[in-house]
Symmetry: C2
Subunit: 134 residues, 2 copies
């Protein structure tokens, strides 16, 4: 039990691998979605838009849990529980950087309209569980 | 917004695909792990052992959320929120059936000892979100 992400698990985040992110619904139940991720040191960073369900949930309760698997072995994964901060600053730059990482495109191609306000979500780990294969 | 799992998403469950499951920690934060799944009709069924974190969490709060992706397209996934029931009955048969499905082995090979009490967790969907690619 630690709040440090081990080096092997940082590699899962550094590759173009998808994370499942859990936020807390108003009724206390977990909400899950899939996100692109990057990191700054030990903080895991992902993008959302203002008003989306997980953004609303994080406004109300900033706790968040991420799970990301080893692309080479689905029996190995890291669970990262943490607290989040959100900012619109750098929101467009982040989603474009993620589009580069995951799609090899210079700009994110899938915005529904021009009025999406992009939000940077930064998760600071408070507890990390790393499951390695037997 | 529905509580019905659509036919395409049932196929994700029927294939040997991994699900991420979220339960609720005593402090209200989400706990995530990866599980093998099968189903009976619209109910999603997975295995755990007595005393494991997610089993303890589900004893205290029986709400659970699962996410499973399309193996052919990671941008398509189904999020299933539901309520769970647990029983020891059929626990051994279930884990062996899952070992057959995922490992093509007749018996589950990874029990740490003979004293693991296997529990069947059955999730009845209350809300289903199906994300399909653009």
């Amino acid at each position: 039990m630690t709040s440090e992400i081990p080096a092997e698990a940082l590699e899962f985040i550094d590759g173009p691998n998808f994370a499942t992110v859990a936020t807390i619904q108003p009724d206390g139940s977990p909400q899950l979605s899939v996100v692109w991720v990057t990191r700054e040191g030990q903080d895991v960073v992902f993008s959302t838009t203002r008003g989306r369900r997980k953004e609303l949930n994080l406004e109300a309760d900033n706790r968040c849990t991420l799970l990301i698997s080893d692309p080479a072995n689905p029996y190995s994964y890291v669970e990262i529980r943490g607290t989040t901060t959100m900012t619109e600053e750098g929101g467009r730059e982040l989603i474009d950087a993620l589009a580069k990482k995951y799609l090899d495109k210079d700009r994110y191609p899938w915005d529904d309209g021009t009025d999406n306000v992009r939000v940077v979500v930064r998760v600071t780990p408070t507890r990390v569980v790393f499951l390695q294969p037997r």
